[in-house]
């Protein structure tokens, strides 16, 4: 399997006034093509900072992040933006969308920014994605006219509209109810099964249990990892959750 992401001795320090806050301390891990990895840890352990530094949104203080052979920190700002646009997808805890655009326009906006394919092809692909996610009927709605679950699925559509090599998700189900959460996770799993690597941050054991591997972060460092293997269906979920819970207890969760 090809390594899509390699993180080496990653450090991130924020300086607030005279105070220095070392959020990430020599974090190391890697991900293979098509893998789905969940990052878990207590609040303030550095999960989100890890996600944002790895995805090039934030600059590391030290260490390196190699994404498909490209060292992210060494790329120029515009190039990083291009990589994020075409090779990475992002899902956030909140369903962030541009309020003056319809659901459909929000989804196709990143696609229109790229030069691959015609607008017609992009529109067709967006419709196909929306159909798959079951939200095609709200395509022309304003973003405040749809439910949270629909909006989060629209956010997933937007994140994969440019067929990224990797999807970053920061608590993608954090603000959803149980049913919506299950539906959204099913969509993320489907994207992953279609070949897109996924790195997600979550507090939810049920969500993490669907990942191939779980990283436990504590005090800015990766303290351990648990390989659960490919998620094959609902029937195995309970067992995966139990395994994960036991491991998390060992980790000090």
């Amino acid at each position: 399997m090809t390594n899509v992401l390699t993180v080496r001795d990653l450090c991130k320090t924020y300086i607030i006034g005279k105070r220095q806050n070392n959020v990430l301390k020599n974090a190391n891990f890697s991900m293979s093509e098509g893998e789905m990895v969940a990052v878990m840890g207590a609040s303030g352990s550095g999960k989100s900072t890890l996600l944002y530094t790895v995805s090039g949104m934030d600059n590391p203080t030290a260490g390196s992040v190699t994404f498909w052979g490209k060292e992210i920190a060494k790329l120029k700002k515009n190039r990083i933006a291009d990589v994020r646009l075409t090779e990475m997808g992002f899902i956030f805890q909140q369903m962030y969308m541009l309020k003056n655009l319809t659901v459909f326009d929000n989804i196709i906006l990143p696609a229109y920014k790229t030069k691959n394919g015609t607008r017609k092809e992009k529109n067709e692909y967006a419709k196909e994605l929306m159909k798959k996610m079951g939200i095609i009927e709200v395509a022309d709605n304003d973003i405040n006219e749809v439910s949270g679950g629909q909006l989060q699925r629209a956010c997933i559509c937007r994140s994969i509209i440019n067929k990224p090599k990797m999807l970053f998700a920061d608590e993608p189900t954090g603000s959803l109810n149980k049913q919506s959460s299950t539906e959204v996770m099913d969509e993320i799993l489907r994207v992953n099964r279609e070949g897109t690597a996924v790195l997600l941050v979550t507090h939810d054991v049920r969500v993490a249990a669907k990942s191939d591997r779980v990283l436990y972060i504590s005090d800015g460092n990766i303290h351990g990892e648990n390989t659960l293997g490919k998620y094959t269906g609902e029937s195995t979920l309970k067992e995966r959750e139990r395994t994960l819970n036991n491991w998390l207890l060992d980790m000090g969760w």
Partner: protein, 786 residues
Amino acid sequence: MKSIMFFSILRKDLKRKKSMNIILLLFITLCAMFTASSVSNLIVVTGAVEFYTEKSRLTDFFIFKSDNDTEQFEEWLSSLSYVDDFEKDIGIIVNDENFINDDYFTLMGVCALTTRPERYGFPLGDDNNPIPVLSGGEIALSRFDARRSELKIGDEITIRVGDRERTFTLTYTTKDIMYGSPYVDTKRLIISDEDYDYFMATSGEQPVLYLAYSISTAYPQTVHRELQKQGFIVQMTGDRAMIEQTLTLEMVLASLLVVIGVVLIIIAFAILRFTIVFTLQEDYREIGIMKAIGLKNSAIKNIYIVKYFAISLVAATGGTIISIPFGTMMLESVQDNMAIQSDGSMGINIICGVVIIGLVLIFCRLSSGSVDKFTAIQAIRGGSTGERFKKKRFFHLNRRKSIPTVFYMAFNSILSAAKSYTVLIITFVLGTLLIIMPLNALNTLKGDDVIYLFGVVKSDVYIVSPDTTVEADIKKAGELEQLYKENGIELELNTVLLIFPWLYTDDMDSGIQMLGLQSSVYETDMNKNYTGGTPPVLPNEIAVTNLAMDRLGVVIGDTVSVKIGTDISDYIITASMQSMNNMGISMLFSKAADIDAPHTSTMTLQGNFINRTGFETTEELIKQMTEITPDYQIKTAGQWLDQYIGSSIEIIEDMKFLVLFVVLFINGLITILLIRTFVTRERGEISLMKNIGFNNRFLKLWQIIRIIIVLFVSVTLGTLLSNPLNPVISRYTFGIMGAPQMPLNVVAFEVYFLYPMLLLFGTAAAAIFGSVAVNKIDFREINNVE
């Protein structure tokens, strides 16, 4: 305890929302600056004429005459019971020949060497006080003449009178209410008593004297009427109103300042309202949360009122201080030729500053009604009450096949929040109008048609002969035609006669002194002057300006009496016209009218070339003609006109650049501030777009393009609006000069392209600068998405 919490919230607000508070501070500063400077200038300009006439001690009535019957004249003047006092200033008449180094010294009309008056009609210095009595070797002349002759303080002027010659140093350039206007042909050069006596003692040809009587009287019109009944030969009479009329140009500029002032105040208040409403709307979340934790509406409103008071106090103080140099800069062009009370207006500025603080609080109080509307639910639901929002989108990105994404985003932002752009549109439209209006006035003054309003026909060349008698000119015309022909230049010369008749209806007492013109060619060529009726053809037909007809209460078809010298004849008014001659009080005789030569003079000889063979340009022909007749001044139409309005053009040109600078400054400042305001409001969305891979270039372009779209729409709107406003400008600017129906010369390239482009590029540059704020937004601000 309660007050501690109150000030704690306030302190946190000021600190945390630094950028919005700074924007608020800057906008209120701008508002105070514009308002204070404009109101102060409005007051100064309104009382400017009175201040100038008082400072100069302008006389109630004046009479210019030559030195004949002087004793009898003064006896008559002294006998008038209603004349309180009079002062006689004697001047030595000089012309080009008297100036030894006259390469750069431009003369027109009558020029007199005189001493500083003792009681009336003082020339004023830079400090708006009368210049002191000059010492030997010093000379002073009006700023207008100095500028026209390209003379500056310290330059030397050598003058010869008879057999006596003296070199003077230009010591003062003055604001001369009596002689300093481009519309007054009579000029004066002030010298010392000693130098005056030196010239008068010449043993050569005795100088021709010129007497100017300044008369103090409560009844100037009675003096005028009595003078008409006497047989004295006078060259010119006038009262304060007439002199005040010569300040036309300054008043046109002052009116322009008033317009600029009013526009700036409108812009200021639009900004003020926008900023307060905008900042309050931005705070719905905080307001909702404060309500959620139990704060009452009144307590929340008090927080805002105290906050706005603190900000407006600082801003209004700053704005008031800046308003003083800003106002002075705006007044500079008017002050150049006119005494203006520009000091001591600090009080007005301070009052304006206080008014702005009051208005901010009133606006705040009125706008804080929205505090009542914002609910805790809105804060929790990110601005929504849970009900459906009104649809904001007007067109869909996916249905626009060709529009680039960044353009779509820009259009969509504008159409989704059109109200937010109102202040920008108002500023840009008014700014465009402010530039185009003086531009049209300036181009009209520079245009070909203006020459008709000065009583001459447009010709290839204008020849001013050293001899000004009519007979000489008419005789010269034939001789000159022949002389030039012999030297290979074929041209046809003619002249316009000047007559100074009295025009009246039944009663001579109600008559007015006119400037009459007679030309052999004007019936066809001067059609542009006529505003009604048919041009005079028969000997007893005349055309009279609308301004003079209004004063006399006559209309086309009426018969009026015309007194020329001692002859009185009846004439029929066949046409109305407009003219800038004699401030619009003039008339035209038909070419058939028989007017006695002793009562006429000439303005210029005018010539049209019959054959230009061998010469490529008019300038080449003029050069050749000057070599043939070196004593004659030969000018092109432009050069001839320049001696009348050249200075006006310069001043309006300066004003145009000042307005352009002010408008670009305002556009730029407001653009930068508004972009920063929008970026602050949209920081969440910008951050989101950065997160999903949009680069800074795209995001900045998005900001810039929407400003350019708004600017483009506003400039187009402003340019279109300028068209219906043209007649208004014409009426108020050229109307004062005597040509209210002057068709404005709209130079399409400048009005529709050059200046709109300057505005577009200038403001786009500010937009580019303002959009840099996008760079500072980072990925964490995504949490601000509503």
